[in-house]
Amino acid sequence: MSSIGFSTGALCKDALAEAIDASDQMHLEAIELSALRLRELAGLVDYVNAHDLSRFKYVSVHAPTDYTADQEPEVADALLKVATTFHWPVVVHPDCFRNTTSWKPFGKWLCIENMDKRKTCGRTVEELRPLFDEYPEARLCFDIAHAHQVDTSMTEAYRILREFGTRIVQLHVSEVTSGSRHDRISEGALRAFQEVAEQLPRTAPIILETPVLVSEAQAEIEKASRIFTAALLETTR
């Protein structure tokens, strides 16, 4: 069974330490340390250098999405140090690559996330392929909610998993609204996600991006685990 955890930004926005404490209280094995806003990055770096997170089986870092081209080398340098020191994948949005040389040194620690419909790159097989050509060692953060929003039939999800499934290092799970906001997983989305459950790597950690109160987190974890329930029943039949 995959490790499950939350993105710290989803669990406690702007409060990294609180989100980690909440994850500890739920005995979660996976966590994604979120620095979606550039102003969060320095605090994240200071925190991980000062605290031991080895109790988590899986840790990743989500890179900022709001830096300028001028800031990119400094951002990439800070993230590279974290990645190579702790051996944690760094999740980067495809539209955030401006200067490819900044990201080449990441090798396998670079984790590219498939995008939602607002973006003009990284949404489909055809849009992801040039990125993996550019970064051949990079891995994939498969955001099943983004794939569902891009194509509710899950055909594009199926295509991405067929083409890049072996690159998957973690899953992002939530529901993404038509306005591209992360939301709790609905029954409709859950049924759609189950359509590609058999293609999802069983061991890939699941990172929930659903915005929930800490008191509601366990229920959301149980719902997310249902993505695999049907597939598990099938394989053991």
Binding site: K117, R123, T124, V150, D151, T152, S153, M154, T155, E156, Y158, R159, S178, G179, Q194, E195, V196, A197, E198, Q199, A230, A231, E234
Partner: protein
Amino acid sequence: MLFGSGGRFEVTSGSDPDWTLLVDGQANAKHQETATRAGVAIDEIAGKPPGREGIFGALAFSHSLIQYIGGQDDTNANLTRRILLLLESKAIGREDAHRRVVNAVLDRYLATDRGWMSGHTPYGVPRFLFNDIARYWRTVTVDYAYRQWTRNNQGWALRRAKLRMSRKLTYAAGLMYCFRLAGESREVPMSELDSGWKLRGIETLSGLTMSTPLDILADAFMTAPPLHAVGRHAFDSYDRFLGVLDNRDTREHLDTLPVDGAGSDEQYQFLRDLGERFQDSLSTLFIRDGRSRYPRLIEEYGVF
């Protein structure tokens, strides 16, 4: 979205700008304003409004196309938009939205076709989709007669030529569209969890939607080498037909041709001959020549 000749990549000097603002997202009161502004801009470029039937030049919502297949809410306009979305549509705006709606419509056809999903339909043709495409074609032919009646035969000659050529081409391509899934065999026994079968089907058909009816028909002839000569007849006829449509004088002449003048009208007779040659080629492809798989599939699906 562009439909009609624009969607088929067959625009001629007399083509109607058959467009629709396809909405796939949250309801928004501003959508009508956007459609109105788009209409003004498109009319200005095309120099004329969309066709008279009122199906185009308006808003359409993905929800209706996906949810209302059959039943009282599946109006003539909804049926037309849905089938033409699959068979002759091109995005002039967001290609990703086009693909998303096409895939969702195909999901609806395939997921609810229990026979096809279970691999029990003969040769693997999706019967639900096939039947709806056939229904659309029959609707087009009946509406042709209705318009003759309600418009006192005005513009009948061009309408008839289009029925026998471009409308029939779309139908023929629709048959081939469904037949493209024929021969696919399921690798695992049916279960509700075997979504890969359905998703592969959607992927194949969605790819065909991004081509044109002429491409789909050409592919059918090309993959049946004994029928290459027949294919040349079909495409020669169609090419000449487009030549007629592109001739302004001929169009104007045909647009005002009275019914009782057709027997002695050279230009109409020329079009009629093209229609018969095109039909003859299609009959050979679909029915007469057993060297391809198509007559077998038509026997299985085409009548009952």
